[in-house]
């Protein structure tokens, strides 16, 4: 039983994939992107006044993210709609594809989530610097504090700002990895207990039921974490745009 082995990357696509280090994670990323594009393309194509199911899905997802942007960031949030939309659906599809048997969850790698979080942090810092210039650095100076303790408070504020990068990436990565380790452990229990003899079939059935429940739970967690990532992106962009 090796619950961590599932996260090991290996190249796919025979020698062509091996020569450019094209792993199953990359394949799943391309699949997620293709599924999102297909959902939007086939959803938008009918242009019906009364939308069908797929068109309703596409329109609802558009409105959902647009509402999130304008609620959290304000009217300026419309500028960031493409980013938040792409982030939310990339992570959502990544998480949900991962629940599929034999698929791979690319969001269970810290490299992927750290890259996404770094993109958000760099972008929000650059946006803040462009909008506010040097005034951006007043963000780290809390208002109404005596000058004497500022040398202590400013490093704390800066550390708190930088730690967003870690918490944003680790939250998604840890949730997805923990869920899949649990799935693997309980999946292995079924096989091991089932092979151990008739008297162990009842606990084997119990762990089978747990696995079924875990898959449902994983769908919930995957959706929730994509939502949390998108909302936190919006909140960080709000801070960048408004500086309070």
């Amino acid at each position: 039983m090796d619950p961590i082995g599932q996260f090991q990357l290996h190249t796919v696509g025979s020698f062509v994939g091996a020569s450019v280090n094209f792993t199953q994670a990359n394949l799943m990323m391309l699949l997620a992107a293709a599924l999102i594009l297909a959902m939007l393309y086939f959803g938008a194509r009918p242009r019906a006044i009364v939308p069908g199911r797929l068109q309703a899905l596409a329109e609802l997802s558009y409105n959902f993210i647009l509402g999130m942007c304008t609620d959290q960031i304000g009217e300026e949030g419309r500028k960031f709609f493409p980013l938040v939309f792409a982030l939310f659906f990339f992570i959502l599809f990544g998480n949900l594809i991962g629940v599929w048997p034999y698929a791979f969850t690319f969001t269970s790698h810290i490299a992927t989530t750290l890259a996404l979080a770094a993109m958000v942090m760099v972008l929000s810092t650059v946006v803040a610097l462009r909008l506010h210039g040097w005034k951006f650095f007043t963000y780290f100076v809390p208002a109404g504090v005596p000058k004497l303790i500022l040398p202590l408070l400013v490093p704390i504020e800066v550390l708190s700002y930088v730690s967003r990068l870690v918490s944003l990436s680790v939250r998604l990565f840890a949730n997805m990895m923990a869920g899949h380790v649990m799935l693997e452990v309980f999946g292995a229990f079924i096989v091991m207990l089932g092979a151990a003899g008739v008297m162990f079939w009842a606990p084997a059935a119990l762990s089978f039921a747990t696995t079924v429940a875990l898959i449902g739970f994983e769908i919930l967690v995957g959706t929730l974490q994509a939502y949390v990532f998108a909302v936190l992106t919006c909140i960080y962009l709000h801070d960048a745009v408004h500086l309070h």
Binding site: M68, D71, Q72, P142, A143, P155, I156, E157, L159, S160, V162, S163, R164, L165, V166, S167, V170, R171, A174, T223, L224, Y227, V228, V231, L232, I235, H238, H244
Partner: protein, 109 residues
């Protein structure tokens, strides 16, 4: 369409009333549990608080360790940054709980 119960009012009014009945119009906030509208569970709050504490500390330890290696001041800066990181973690939790940095009149979230 039955159209019986609340015949009056425009479509928008009836839609708003229906959304209110279903509880769909609550605004998502930073603290909410998610799109399903249910509040966050105790476990999820605990995990989030722990993550905020640890992530600030991890960043601080990394910076302190790296600065020490660079400036050859071995344990001094690491010790200093552990303290600062702990404080930053507390600050993160303070913010997460919606207590910090809200000037009166700023209606953020």
């Amino acid at each position: 369409m039955s159209g019986g119960e609340d015949g009056g009012g425009s479509f928008e009014d009836r839609l708003r009333a229906a959304r209110r009945r279903q509880g769909l119009d609550t605004r998502p906030s930073e603290q909410s549990g998610g799109p399903d509208g249910s509040g966050p569970s105790a476990l999820s709050i605990g995990l989030r608080v722990g993550l905020e504490l640890v992530s600030a500390l991890a960043v601080a330890v990394a910076i302190g360790w790296w600065l020490d290696k660079w400036l050859h001041t071995s344990p001094v800066l690491l010790a200093l940054f552990v303290l600062l990181g702990g404080a930053a973690g507390m600050l993160n939790v303070w913010r997460l709980m919606g207590l910090g940095r809200q000037p009166p009149g700023d209606k953020r979230n």
